[in-house]
């Protein structure tokens, strides 16, 4: 069983976003980077699945600049077997070109199962996993909050969370791509021996430009900007009954939302 995990490095959720002077992107100085939270669930689910099946290999794939190696090492310290860093070399890419490059590596590696996060919390595109599934010809189950390997170990039952607290239950054969949602598991911490061992695990480096082929970006993001600040509004005063009555009146007559 060969399991691939797609991992992305993103700014910490505490980051206060600042925009570059020319509006071409966000200011990256001083940003602390973390493993995208949803990708952490993906690493954990891959490790659990390998343990359940009893044999196999977990490979962490990540595309990004040199610093991206940190998130691969984190995955290796958690217990993954090897890593592949695809260096973007500073070229500008969109969801499609990222997916095209990842799909190429995935096809070369011939994975039986792919885990990824349901989305990255930086650009929030939520496009790459489904595009990878299309380009590498995998079926997909996104926003999965439960994954259980079937008795025959050739497939799994997967719960996909949809609107209003409802779940769709899928029965899938491998290979399949699973996009992990919060709640699917609790990621393990890397142990100290795990961190030491990770240093000697194999980590290959590929270059995105060598894998791009004819693929070109299909979208360009421009005019990065901060949202208008929400202005402070009215603070109501008085007794609770009075404030409740006034609020209801304002929502109906001034804001007109009731």
């Amino acid at each position: 069983m060969k399991i691939g995990v797609l991992v992305k490095q993103v700014p910490d959720t505490e980051t206060k976003i600042r925009i570059k002077g020319d509006a071409s992107g966000i200011e990256v100085d001083g940003i602390k980077y973390i493993v995208n939270p949803y990708c952490e669930f993906a690493v954990e689910e891959a490790l659990k699945t390998k343990e359940k099946i009893g044999t196999g290999e977990v490979v962490i794939l990540s595309l990004g600049p040199t610093r991206t190696v940190d998130v691969i090492r984190t995955g290796l310290a958690m217990g993954a077997d090897r890593g592949i860093h695809i260096d973007d070399g500073g070229i500008s890419m969109d969801s499609f070109t990222v997916a095209a490059v990842l799909a190429k590596v995935i096809q070369n590696e011939k994975f039986d199962l792919l885990f990824c996060g349901k989305q990255a919390i930086d650009d929030d595109c939520a496009q790459v996993p489904q595009m990878v599934a299309e380009l590498a010809n995998f079926p997909q189950v996104m926003v999965a909050d439960k994954f259980e390997v079937r008795g025959d170990k050739k497939g799994a039952q997967v719960h996909r969370r949809v609107g209003g607290g409802a779940k769709e239950v899928y029965d899938v054969d491998f290979p399949v791509l699973i996009g992990c949602e919060k709640g699917i598991n609790t990621p393990r911490y890397a142990s100290l021996p795990g961190i030491m061992k990770a240093k000697s695990k194999p980590l290959a480096v590929l270059k995105a430009v060598d894998l791009l082929g004819e693929s070109k970006p299909r979208t360009i993001a421009v005019n990065y900007r901060l949202p208008p600040e929400r202005k402070a509004g009215k603070i109501l005063k008085g007794e609770p009954e009075q404030m409740a009555r006034e609020l209801v009146k304002l929502l109906r007559e001034e804001a007109k939302v009731i």
């Binding site: 700014p11 959720t13 206060k16 976003i17 925009i19 966000i26 939270p37 499609f96 919390i121 930086d122 650009d123 929030d124 939520a126 496009q127 489904q130 595009m131 599934a133 299309e134 079926p139 997909q140 996104m142 926003v143 719960h159 969370r161 609107g163 209003g164 607290g165 409802a166 779940k167 769709e168 239950v169 899928y170 899938v172 399949v176 919060k182 709640g183 299909r218 979208t219 360009i220 993001a221 421009v222 005019n223 990065y224 900007r225 901060l226 949202p227 929400r230 402070a232 509004g233 603070i235 109501l236 609770p240 404030m243 409740a244 609020l247 209801v248 109906r252 804001a255 939302v257 009731i258």
Partner: protein
């Protein structure tokens, strides 16, 4: 030709509000592009698709098959990509719902189209689509330009107003018998949630509770207020992490990003991740004991006080005026 194809959504055969919103916006864009708006509906037992005509749609391509009674990603992609290849729209629009989020990227990859997801605004600039979308859960915004012939976007629910522009007009319904092909990841069943409420991401009113709710039991008072308003109940990460509410109720950067007309925050201080997740709400009400709570500074209306006193009073007051 600058035709726009809207991929509609339905609930048990009934066309959803988000689709009326999207067709209305598409009609506005099509007027600038000089094309027409058509729509696609896929599923089984679809009712009254011609109603989209009064919102500006001309033709509705309907694929009604028991094979797609339960949603299937690859079946949906195959059917829509065949229609798109035949009718050659220059823009394809969908909804950033659990469905649209699932199949649009795959459809875009198949059609060789650029895609902007979860957009809060769409316009036409120099004959091309320009899509505005939040990033970092709303801490910043970008505009997306397209390099492809077909331009695709999904819009966040509640971003546009449904507008009847041609009252009584009926769209032409074109039935398409397209085989969804061999289905791989197959859905066996749908397990319904505890409530039949509109999902947070589509709700037009949300009542949310934070750590100050103290326990799961107390969320009952928010539910009572929500029931009166036809609202959906949400929660902050602090409340979810404390076990007061399940994760699918979480609003914020690692939960749901919401876009309601009215957001009522009860006992939520307003961490940066929470503010990001509800920033595009049209009107925000904050109720908090702590006058220094950051959310009180960002709210349109703030009440400094005990939510356990205020919320039941609000429920009573709303009941009164809604009964009038």
């Amino acid at each position: 030709m600058g035709n726009i194809l809207v991929i509609g959504e339905h609930h048990e055969g009934k066309v959803k509000k988000v689709t009326f919103e999207l067709v209305s916006k598409a009609a506005e864009l099509a007027a600038t592009l000089g094309g027409e708006v058509d729509a696609v509906l896929v599923g089984h037992g679809l009712q009254n698709p011609e109603e989209l005509g009064s919102y500006g749609a001309k033709k509705i391509y309907v694929v009604d098959t028991p094979k797609l009674e339960k949603y299937n990603t690859e079946g949906t992609v195959k059917v829509i990509s065949e229609i798109a290849t035949e009718v050659k729209p220059s823009v394809i629009l969908g909804t950033a719902s659990s469905l649209g989020k699932d199949f649009f990227p795959r459809l875009a990859a198949r059609l060789g189209a650029g895609l902007a997801t979860d957009c809060t605004d769409l316009k036409i600039q120099d004959g091309k689509l320009l899509a505005t979308r939040p990033i970092y859960a709303g801490k910043a915004f970008v505009d997306v330009k397209f390099e492809t012939e077909i331009q695709m976007a999904t819009a966040r629910p509640n971003s546009f107003q449904p507008k009847v522009t041609q009252a009584g007009a009926k769209a032409e319904v074109v039935s398409k018998a397209i085989d969804p092909g061999a289905l791989r990841a197959v859905m066996k069943e749908i397990v319904k949630g505890q409530s039949d409420k509109v999902d947070l991401t589509e709700a037009s009113i949300i009542v949310s509770g934070g750590r100050a709710m103290k326990n799961a039991e107390n969320f009952k008072i928010l539910q009572e207020l929500a029931d009166v308003l036809g609202a959906t109940v949400g929660a902050s990460r602090a409340a979810v992490d404390s076990g007061y509410a399940p994760h699918d109720m979480q609003v914020g950067q690692t939960g749901k990003v919401v876009n309601p007309n009215l957001y009522i925050a009860c006992g939520i201080s307003g961490a940066i991740q929470h503010l990001a997740g509800m920033r595009t709400s049209k009107v925000v009400v904050a109720i908090n004991k702590d006058p220094e709570a950051p959310l009180l500074q960002k709210a349109d209306y703030g009440i400094v006080g005990d939510l356990f006193q205020i919320v039941p009073l609000l429920t009573q007051e709303f009941k009164k005026i809604l009964a009038e």
